[in-house]
Amino acid sequence: MVRPRAPRCLIAQIPRRYYSAPSPAAKLNLPLDFKTTPLLHHTPATLSSVPNFPAGATSKRLNLFQAINSALRTALSSSDKVLLFGEDVAFGGVFRCSMDLQSEFGSDRVFNTPLTEQGIAGFAIGAAAEGMKPVAELQFADYMYPAFDQIVNEAAKFRYREGNTGVNVGGLVIRMPCGAVGHGALYHTQSPESLFAHIPGVRVVMPRSPAQAKGLLLSSIFEHNDPVIFMEPKGLYRAAAEYVPNEYYTIPLSKAEIVKPGKDLTIISYGQPLYHCSAAISAIEKTMKGVNIELIDLRTIYPWDRQTVLESVRRTGRAVVVHESMVNYGVGAEVAATLQEGAFLRLEAPVKRVAGWSTHTGLTYEQFILPDVARIFDAIKQTLEY
């Protein structure tokens, strides 16, 4: 295992290698270009074509954590039932999503909790049952497991079991940063969406961009009688910036979006890997002339928009599902099974899954485990040539 040691002078000449630096030979796995990706609104002009966005809205260029901040500010000023709490939230939170909100809305509504995830979740459920709209932050999705009991056994079953009382925990939103950034290792990298997606009674949402995040978060807080698990890809907090309407607006949950229409193959994804998908699509459309790939953002992972996905795949006949979390028993398995049930006779190739390998994310191994542009490119190619 130990390689022969290079002479010291040689080592000094090799440029320092970061964990996720691309090699000079790489053609596909280049750093994502968030400045030009078609997934973001780089000018305010393109916002007006989006059906959910308020017409004639003023807008501002925000990154994801600023958009979350804007959504939370909008929510807190829209209703005094909205509360915001979690570990270090009063100081802005570790990712700065709640910056300045305590000073604007007071410590009765925006406050720190002890390090007590189970307590945070249970406390939030109780408050929601009594009519509040609590937005609870778990500092990392990796820390949610003590809260899992509360989410599964209390939050998810609340409306189902309440008899004639009419009580529900709608307005309860549990926010958590998820996903990889390149060096989070075992406990700061996980994306546990498929664990929640196994549980009827919760809605699981993961936005792809700042403008999406604001609309989806406001929708989660104000428009549903179900608790919502709102997962924020932390790699996008600073990386993804776009124009976001200043006003209140919502984007419906459980509605997928075709972010790029196409005719030959459908890619179904959500969250951060959409940017990898988009890069892979433009690479394959350049390489294989005439090929046209459709890209769907699920946006809500559960309950998910089967209709949009089925209609698309019935048209294209080919599908690839991409997600960052592990492939085993993941969202891709559910989508693939649904496609073979609902589009079997139209399928020209097996549904392919590109996802994290079934392993933990060791510190130095993240780049090998997560889907990258090359793997998505390869999956598209194999599926087209099947």
């Binding site: 970061y18 570990e87 390090l115 995830e117």
Partner: protein, 405 residues
């Protein structure tokens, strides 16, 4: 993609004395002007004698305090000093490597808390077990991890103590169960370890450490209950460094008397900035637990001079004055001034130890930096996960280097 904490890094204010090799390792302010005179200090290094401990060192809860003196030897006292100095130097080195962007990800330093890990180790044996949370570099070293294996792990190298898989929070050694990234989850584990010890009648104990933040997790209290119910040989130890990340204990805990949190379990609060107090308390507690009297809840009153993690400058939620006051109560200079007053070590000898440790740590860093990064091979990537041969079949794009079409 930028690391998500990049802009926080730029905000990092410089804390005096942190992270620069030119700064002294610790402040030289003497806090204990009136150190008791120790009579009859033997000339031999290995001959036992007794040194006093300040009468403010302990607070008790349904528990008799240890005697306010501790039996030791000159060589042990010098070793305590050397061990704390080594941890401090290793942590400062990690700080430097992080700032050079050689260490990535999460890194929690224990600068200021050295007396706890060193005092505990000198009171227990290698057959006793220890488990702790994420601020674990000092404990790893004291449990037998080498400096280069610890720094190698931080650097993500194959020969790191966990093969580069874990990084800062996940280090293991014989009789040392980590290094756990999720606050509070290690505490029931430590209780299970103690149960196994009791079941196997090993006569050894488990030291079960967690932080003041973790003390509010439900599972800590579940562990207390089981430990007392079954009278397990475990010392729960709350390292109270006054802040759970950026939240002070007063803002997070209805009761900040963590040594009383066991309710039905006797407790002891120890001055965690005095390594001799920690040593005495642990010996006392170990005898109690070994005698089958059941668990104890200890609280080590300590202080973290560094930020919570590398992206936290540690200045936003506490005042500079507070930090300065606490730094004048440095566990290393506390011991040093006593040893000098007692005539066990001279200022020059202390400086020599310091210099020697500095040289030793820098040799270890060099060795760690020479360690190979893990090879991007399937058997390495899927080690401990898949039955060999059953790994995913991946034809192209396995690594960035292979991505050429």
């Amino acid at each position: 993609m930028r690391p998500f904490n990049a802009s926080l890094l730029s905000l990092r204010a410089r804390i005096p004395g942190l992270g620069t090799s030119t700064c002294p390792l610790y402040t030289s302010t003497r806090r204990f002007a009136q150190v008791a005179n120790v009579q009859d200090i033997p000339t031999e290094d290995d001959k036992p004698f007794t040194v006093p401990i300040a009468d403010t060192s302990f607070e008790t809860y349904h528990f008799d305090p240890p005697t306010y003196s501790v039996k030791t030897t000159k060589s042990q006292l010098k070793q305590l000093f050397r061990d704390m100095t080594t941890i401090r130097r290793m942590e400062l080195t990690a700080d430097g490597l992080y700032k050079q962007r050689k260490i990535r990800g999460f890194c929690h330093l224990s600068i200021g808390q050295e007396a706890v890990s060193v005092g505990i180790e000198h009171a227990i044996t290698r057959e006793d077990k220890l488990i702790t949370a994420y601020r674990s570099h000092g404990n790893t070293l004291m449990r037998g991890g080498t400096i280069k294996s610890i720094l190698g792990e931080l650097l993500g190298r194959r020969d790191g103590i966990a093969h580069g898989k874990g990084g800062s929070m996940h280090m293991y050694a014989k009789s040392f169960f980590g290094g756990n990234g999720i606050v509070g989850t290690s505490v029931p584990l430590g209780t299970g370890i103690a149960f196994a010890q009791q079941y196997d009648q090993t006569g050894n104990i488990t030291v079960n450490l967690y932080g003041d933040g973790a003390a509010n997790q439900g599972q800590v209290h579940e562990a207390f209950n089981m430990a007392k119910l079954w009278n397990l040989p475990v010392i729960f130890g709350c390292e109270n460094n006054k802040y759970g990340m950026g939240t002070s204990v007063e803002r997070a805990s209805a009761s900040t008397e963590y040594y009383k949190r066991g309710q039905y379990i006797p407790g002891l609060k120890v001055d965690g900035m005095d390594v001799l107090a920690v040593l005495a308390a642990m010996r006392h507690g170990r005898e109690w637990v070994k005698a089958g009297k059941g668990p104890l809840v200890y609280e080590y009153a300590t202080y973290r001079f560094a930020g919570h993690s590398m992206s936290d400058p540690g200045t936003a939620y506490r005042t500079r004055e507070e930090l300065q006051t606490e730094r004048s109560n440095d566990p290393i200079s506390n011991l040093k001034s006593k040893l000098i007053d007692w005539g066990i070590m001279t200022e020059d000898e202390a400086r020599a130890v310091d210099k020697e440790v500095r040289g030793m740590v820098s040799r270890e860093v060099e060795a760690a930096e020479q360690m190979p990064v893990p090879e991007p091979r399937w058997d390495v990537l899927f080690e401990d996960i898949y039955v060999p041969g059953s790994e995913p079949d991946q034809r192209r794009g396995r690594t960035v280097d292979e991505t050429v079409y």
